[in-house]
């Protein structure tokens, strides 16, 4: 912990104590964050990419955006950057004479299903949201009935899970842990470590469970000659003593270890693993997260991350202005979560524009989803080039995004891409999608 975070904590503590001491019993309506930019001028960098706004650009329309995030609990660092990204986008859009995206945040307490459902209900009934950005696998699955019943178009940029695939009103902009990323990833591992046959898989009972228990044991022998899964261990979230699992890893002597860990568990596991002297390469489906870097920086540098990665240095103009503005606003580089929730807001804008153009109601989730399904391709901070804004498209059936996937090495918590992975065609050459 640094001095400054401690002091800011202490300040929040005193402030909160003062507030609580002052009045218990005054239930005021929750404050909602909204873009408070001055009058728009239609001439910002954003206008250069998305057009000049105005009436056709949804000006004058107010759309209430809910965000269901981990604001407290072990994953609260995720919640912070996700909301940062979305808030920046809302401000930029308003300044570019686009619609007014009013943001209301609900806390799912880092994956607590009951907290998430309660928060989502509040967002829907109290804050009257029109669209929603959600995060985390379990809690997002749990609120699917709610968003469907209330027809709330929901985007998920944190990480998908099998239960979130192909669900009405829920569209993914990140395919982490999604089954399609597994074959390509395994193929890349097989290519990179040609000697490797024995794979150990360790993960929480969370998002990766399907991939872990079904896909990897199925695909690994196919892509690696003589490949076997020698260990398949699952554990509860928040485990502190990995001694036993590591003993099993040591005894199984795998050539490579694939992990499905999240947040703090990632750090705990990596620390324990490396301290126990296990040197086998570790492949992780997690490409982001501040907490991990804070807790186990050295150990995490030995991990190879697989999945889509957000590249801060991507020269695509949409991304360039994003990074600059983000740094101005928050004093540090954006990460994948900031980027995803940022660009999701632009997806909403695009959809609003389409509905407005059709003379529809831009606050209707039903119409927004129809607009999305009609043409699920959007401008993106991913991909592209210095001259061209990248694009992201979402599959109509699976509701999963198509984004460049890669393998990354990590140094000082920064990812460096070492390979690009595209989806492996069924029945096709498993290596066809891998390029160095």
């Amino acid at each position: 912990m640094t001095v400054s975070t401690f002091i800011s904590r202490a300040r929040r503590f005193t402030a909160a104590a003062a507030v609580a001491a002052l009045a218990v019993g005054l239930a005021s309506c929750a404050s909602s964050d909204s873009g408070t930019a001055a009058a728009c001028d239609g001439d910002t960098a954003i206008n250069g990419i998305f057009g000049e706004g105005g009436e056709a650009g949804g000006q004058g329309v107010t759309v209430k955006v809910g965000m269901l995030l981990a604001m407290t609990g072990s994953g609260s660092s995720y919640g912070e950057v996700m909301s940062n990204g979305a808030k920046l986008a809302a401000e930029q859009i308003l300044a570019a004479c686009g619609p007014d995206f009013e943001i209301a945040i609900g806390d799912h307490e880092s994956g607590s299903v009951p907290a998430a459902v309660a928060a989502a209900r509040k967002l829907i009934s109290q804050d009257g949201i029109n669209v929603l950005q959600t995060s985390f696998g379990g809690v997002s699955e749990a609120i699917i009935p709610l968003v469907q019943q209330n027809k709330i178009l929901t985007l998920q940029g944190g990480g998908t899970s099998p239960g979130q695939i192909g669900k009405d009103y829920l569209w993914n902009t990140r395919q982490l842990f999604a089954d399609p990323s597994i074959p390509g990833g395994l193929a890349w591992v097989a290519q990179t470590y040609p000697e490797a046959t024995k794979m150990a898989v360790v993960g929480t009972l969370e998002n990766g469970i399907n991939a872990q228990t079904k896909l990897i044991p199925e695909i690994w022998p196919e892509v690696a000659p003589g490949g076997t899964v020698v260990l398949n261990e699952q554990h509860e979230v928040g485990l502190t003593d990995f001694g036993q699992i590591i003993a099993k890893i040591q005894s199984a002597e795998p050539d490579v270890i694939w992990i499905f860990e999240q947040g703090g568990d990632n750090a705990t596991f990596m620390k324990a693993l490396r301290r126990a002297g296990v040197t086998a390469p570790v492949v992780s489906s997690e490409t982001g997260g501040e907490e991990v870097c804070k807790l186990a920086p050295e150990e995490f540098d030995t991990v190879i991350a697989l999945g889509e990665n957000y590249d801060v240095a991507n020269p695509n103009p949409f991304n360039e202005q994003f990074v600059t503005e983000y740094k101005d606003a928050y004093g540090k580089n954006p990460d994948i979560f900031a980027a995803n929730y940022y660009e999701e807001m632009f997806v909403f804008w695009e959809l609003v524009n389409r509905v407005v153009a059709d003379g529809g109601d831009p606050t209707s989730g039903e119409q927004l989803q129809a607009a999305l399904a009609a043409d699920p391709t959007f401008q993106s901070v991913y991909g592209g080039s210095a001259d061209e804004v990248g694009t992201m498209s979402i599959d109509e059936e699976t509701h999963l995004p198509v984004k460049p996937m890669g393998a990354y090495t990590i140094k000082d918590c920064q990812l460096t891409q070492v390979a690009t992975i595209t989806e492996v065609d069924e029945g096709g050459d498993p290596f066809s999608g891998v390029s160095k």
Binding site: A16, K122, I124, G163, L205
Partner: protein, 601 residues
């Protein structure tokens, strides 16, 4: 509107959970840390029953791979949820409650809670794992699917009101009285002829059933059942509500549930993201402060508006008929009460009622009682006398099987009662009192006595639920009988006073009234006058003499030779566990050898 309905629903779930827990913590005095587990069992059961049946190719795509449910309609599923929760709780409580109490029970229920939560998270193919079971179909009401909080709030509201009425009535019923008795003095409940294991098992089941109902509604409202909704924190929150509100008072539980439930939205507005941490600090500290400064809670047991109304009504109801000595007829038989006070002693005079033969007991090599043989004659007072440590109280304990004898036989009215439990012996017509009274201190005098009246079918919670009017009528009769018993000892004016507020002498009288109320023929009195104010002793002596006159057979342990001389027809002289002599106290006092034994050589 929807938002406030949602908050109301959350508070009502907490209320139902805490009301059910209060049956255990408040009325029975057993702390369970596992109430959320039963809440969860109800939720998962309704989820699995109502989710659609898996159809090949159309399976529900969840991460966990739960294939599907049984496709039941909502309300039958709720009923089954209640039963499943109750059944699991009862099954677990049988070994747990009959053998362990206090800290052990806390640790055991804690273990059960943690096991249940982990299994909810680990048995993924059944429970959906940490993601939970989802999507659970919404609840239905008259064929209507209820999704909006403003609709659900009506159903949950009705359920909460029913739960309140049910818990309140149960607590104030004869069954609740037995529970409170168990809380105060478990052995005394057994000594007046009531079993204590069954009521505990039942109340565990009933409390879990109510929690199961709350869980079923919860799952259908949120359309998801996940481990975090039913973990240890939830159990602890429910305990906090019960304790803050005041144990054994449903009104207090309701008040506390509202206060703690409102903390959520209030803190949300005040401190935003840290609301849940602040809530923990506030209710944790509240728990400490309440236990320290107001352990009876915000609304103590004998307070609250409903209680007040009820008591006033009660006071007006059973007026004591001045000379009432007959007891209210029991069910079925017009008057089968054996040896009711005031009844004329029946049968020829010298009749052996109780035979004790060859009673022996050693504790770690020391013979406390050895081959004691004596008998009690109908309508007489027999005193056990002897120096300290002679084994008098131990003999009482052996006769009533409170301690298992090594050897010996006891025959009551010609039938062997050897080896029967103390409660069974009481039902067969022999009851005992205790040196230290063992009254139910936080109950009124009349409740103390009413507890002892035998054959109360209204103590069965099932009858209580299905025949409320019958129970009401029956209870009026019971209270009338209890009042008459109190009148016999001259305590009817204090019928509604809490025993804890009575003087020690008065407490001893209530204990005798309680003994009379068992209807037992044979009364074993352990030091009925010890510690009684000298001025009140005469009254106790009169009461005991009256009992003899009413045909009761009495055996008493008494150290004051004076008292024995005045009261007893016969004395049995014990020394070092052996019966040395029998006869009138005068005869015994004349014997030099006994004098030497009593006072030392």
């Amino acid at each position: 509107m929807e938002y406030y309905a949602d908050i109301a629903i959350q508070i009502m779930f907490l209320m139902m959970l805490a009301l059910s827990l209060n049956l255990l913590v408040g009325y029975t005095g057993e702390t369970s840390m596992a109430q959320a587990a039963f809440y969860g069992i109800g939720a998962y059961t309704v989820g699995l029953l109502t989710m659609p049946v898996a159809v090949a190719g159309l399976e529900i795509a969840t991460s966990s791979g739960v294939a599907g449910g049984a496709g039941w309609p909502f309300w039958p599923a709720v009923l089954i949820s209640i039963l499943v929760s109750a059944a699991v709780a009862s099954a677990i409580s049988i070994p747990a409650l009959s053998r362990v109490r206090g800290e052990f029970l806390i640790l055991m229920t804690l273990a059960f809670q943690l096991v249940t939560t982990q299994l909810m998270g680990s048995l993924t193919s059944i429970t959906g794992g940490t993601f939970g079971l989802t999507p659970i179909p919404p609840m239905t009401f008259f064929g209507q699917s209820l999704i909006k909080p403003s609709q659900v709030v009506i159903v949950v509201g009705i359920a909460t009101v029913l739960t309140f009425v049910f818990c309140y009535r149960l607590g104030e019923s004869p069954f609740g009285r037995v529970l409170k008795g168990i809380r105060e003095q478990e052995t005394a409940v057994r000594a007046v002829g009531k079993g204590t294991v069954l009521p505990k098992v039942i109340v565990f089941g009933v409390a879990a059933g109510v929690a199961g109902l709350a869980g079923a509604l919860n799952a259908s409202y949120y359309q998801v059942a996940a481990p975090q909704s039913f973990n240890l924190d939830v159990s602890i929150l429910a305990i906090a509500v019960v304790i803050l509100g005041g144990v054994a008072n449903p009104v207090g539980t309701v008040v506390a549930a509202i206060l703690l439930g409102l903390l959520n939205p209030v803190l949300d507005a005040l401190v935003g993201a840290e609301a849940s941490a602040w809530r923990g600090v506030i209710y944790g500290l509240a728990l400490v402060l309440v236990m320290r400064y107001r352990p009876q809670g915000l609304v103590p047991e004998h307070q609250g508006p409903l209680r007040f109304l009820r008591r006033r009504r009660r006071r007006n109801a059973p007026a004591v008929a001045a000379a009432a000595t007959t007891r209210a007829p029991r069910d079925g038989a017009p008057d089968a009460t054996p040896g009711a006070p005031g009844a004329v002693p029946s049968g020829p005079a010298p009749e052996v009622v109780l035979k004790v033969e060859g009673m022996s007991k050693s504790f770690g090599g020391i013979k406390a009682v050895s081959d004691a043989t004596f008998d009690l004659t109908r309508g007489q007072i027999t005193a056990l006398v002897g120096p300290n440590g002679a084994g008098k109280t131990t003999l009482f304990n052996l006769i009533t099987n409170a301690i298992t004898p090594d050897q010996g036989a006891v025959t009551l009215n010609g039938t062997s009662i050897t080896g029967l439990s103390i409660s069974e012996i009481a039902r067969r017509g022999m009851a005992r009192s205790f040196q230290d009274g063992r009254l139910f201190e936080r109950l009124s005098a009349i409740d103390n006595v009413a507890m002892a009246i035998p054959d109360q079918r209204a103590e069965n919670p099932f009858i209580l639920t299905v025949r409320p009017l019958y129970v009401k009528k029956r209870e009026r009769a019971v209270r009338q009988s209890a009042l008459e018993c109190l009148q016999l000892v001259g305590m009817h004016a204090d019928a509604e006073t809490l025993v804890a507020d009575l003087s020690y002498g008065d407490q001893k009288l209530v204990a005798i009234a309680r003994l009379i109320a068992t209807g037992a023929d044979v009364l074993l009195l352990d030091e009925p006058t010890s510690g009684v104010d000298p001025s009140a002793v005469e009254h106790v002596i009169d009461v005991i003499s009256d009992l003899r006159a009413a045909g009761k057979t009495i055996c008493l342990v008494e150290h004051s030779v004076h008292m024995v001389e005045r009261l007893a027809d016969r004395a049995v002289f014990l020394d070092q566990g052996r019966v040395l002599a029998m006869g009138s106290m005068k005869e015994l006092m004349a014997r030099q050898d006994l004098k030497e034994i009593y006072f030392g050589a």
